[in-house]
């Protein structure tokens, strides 16, 4: 059973009496433009493309759990020396909102880069925060987020020495409808191996739209 499946099962097995209280369940479909760059000592390899996926989020008062998944194909940018790759990832993030505008987050992402040569599995553990301030009333929000990635494990590579992500975005909610545009830059610098220091960076611009359901 994968980690994502275990998380979904955990959500389904929530105690029945918890449902007596108010829950918010949202589902979002995401279309994401990804720009992946890696320098493993042979120059910068670039690949970009579109990923599609979705996320579901269950919130009860200030606590929420988000499960997400995306998949897509990144095409090597001509002249950059890279090769095409398929990207798939699933993630789970637990959220806690100590303040109306601040959400503390921690989660894990399992990612797979598949090329004709090999398949690389990533495990990223992240912890950080997201700030949301109303941009126009209670419907339009300015969003900023930043996470440290204390653990980035990649098969065949040492753990990343420095890794973080950061980004900004806009969110819109009207009634049950949700829309979000978010830019995220994820950077991982691996320890030097000899004279080579591997660096990878994934920039995404995600456009999501979905619905919010209030459950009792």
């Amino acid at each position: 059973m994968s980690a994502a499946q275990r998380l979904i099962l955990a959500v389904l097995l929530l105690p029945a009496n918890a449902w007596a209280q108010r829950f918010e369940l949202s589902g979002v479909v995401t279309v994401m433009r990804g720009d992946h760059r890696v320098d493993a000592g042979l120059g910068v390899e670039r690949a970009s493309g579109v990923l599609v996926g979705g996320a579901t989020r269950l919130r009860h008062r200030g606590i929420a759990l988000t499960l997400s998944g995306e998949t897509g194909h990144l095409t090597a940018v001509r002249g950059s020396g890279g090769i095409d790759r398929d990207v798939s990832q699933v993630g789970a993030i637990a959220e806690f909102a100590p303040l109306p505008w601040l959400v503390l987050e921690s989660g894990v992402t399992l990612r797979s880069f598949g090329t004709v040569v090999a398949r690389q599995r990533w495990t990223l553990v992240r912890a950080g925060a997201e700030a949301r301030v109303p941009l126009s009333g209670e419907t339009f929000w300015a969003v900023g987020h930043a996470h440290l990635l204390p653990l980035v494990a990649v098969n065949g590579l040492p753990h990343a020495a420095t890794a973080f992500d950061a980004g900004t975005g806009l969110a819109y909610q009207r009634g049950r409808l949700l829309f979000e545009l978010a830019y995220t830059l994820e950077r991982c610098d691996f320890p030097s191996q000899g004279s080579t220091r591997r660096s990878e960076q994934l920039g995404t611009l995600a456009l999501g739209g979905g619905v919010l359901l209030r459950l009792r």
Partner: protein
Amino acid sequence: MTRRPAALGLALLLVFPTITAAQAGTAELLQQARQLYERLEIERALPILRQVVSPDWPLEVTNAQRVEAYKYLGAALVLRGKPDSAVLYFRAALERDAFADLDPAQFTPAQAGAFAVARRRTFSVGVRPIPETRIDPRTGRLTVTVVTTHAALLRATVRALGDTNYVVLYDGPNDGAREIGWNGLGPDGRLARPGRYDLSVVGRSRITTQADSLRMYLDLQHDVEPFEDTLPALGTGDVLPERYAESTAGNDLLKGLGVAVGALAVGSLLGNARLGTGREGPIMAGAAMAGGIAAFSYRRAHRAIPGNVALNDARRAARDAANAVIRLRNADRVARTLLLITPASAPAVRP
């Protein structure tokens, strides 16, 4: 300092026995005259009775004592065969007290006849003194006994002092005593306001051309349960702002610009310089800037905060509903108001 109270006490001691003796003197004299009359010693009774009604009589004589003296004078003169003089004294009694009457068990038919003649010749109206009365206007009423000495047209009204509108308690024919009532409502049909009231009785003889009137004053008070205070109007601290401040639009623009700058900063400051960044950051920056400008324009045109307006409306509605209930309870208290009526002037005063 101690001499003044002592002197005052001495003066009171000297004055009080004089007053008491004066009243006792008249009463004793009347009692003596009555006993002489009953023993038919008319010649001895008459001077005493004349003495009591004489203006020269030095002792105090109450109206009731004077009326009593006139009645016995009249009765004595009937027994002496002087009915015309008797009628004059009976008239004097009736003029002072329209309720005056002869008890058929104590007086002869001839005396009653003379008294009846006096009644026909004299016209006066009277009102019995009203004791302190507490009435529930829903069920009770103030009862006033009025009288005319003979057949008359009688009109009794009550009005608040200074008010031009009045309530007619009775307007019609009358002969003798009659009970009239007031339900405590004003001319507008509402509960009479607290204050001083003027009860006026006007009579016009149907036998002679005489007319008589009298007036008495009543104090009216409401005896009502204390009212419950209504909830005060919502203050500034009780309601949410219903409009965004002037600066909100500018702040929204700044936030949009902040998101745009953040998007650019993430790429340029946090991105790996060796790897460079794509166009996602600038696209996000452009979108954020557009969003900020859109928010700025929207907020300039729409400063109302519908959610707060709805909440404030709900709070006002809740307050109004609570006040409506309180007003209902207060109205119920008003409906259960009792009227406390006390006489403000002792006997009726002829205007």
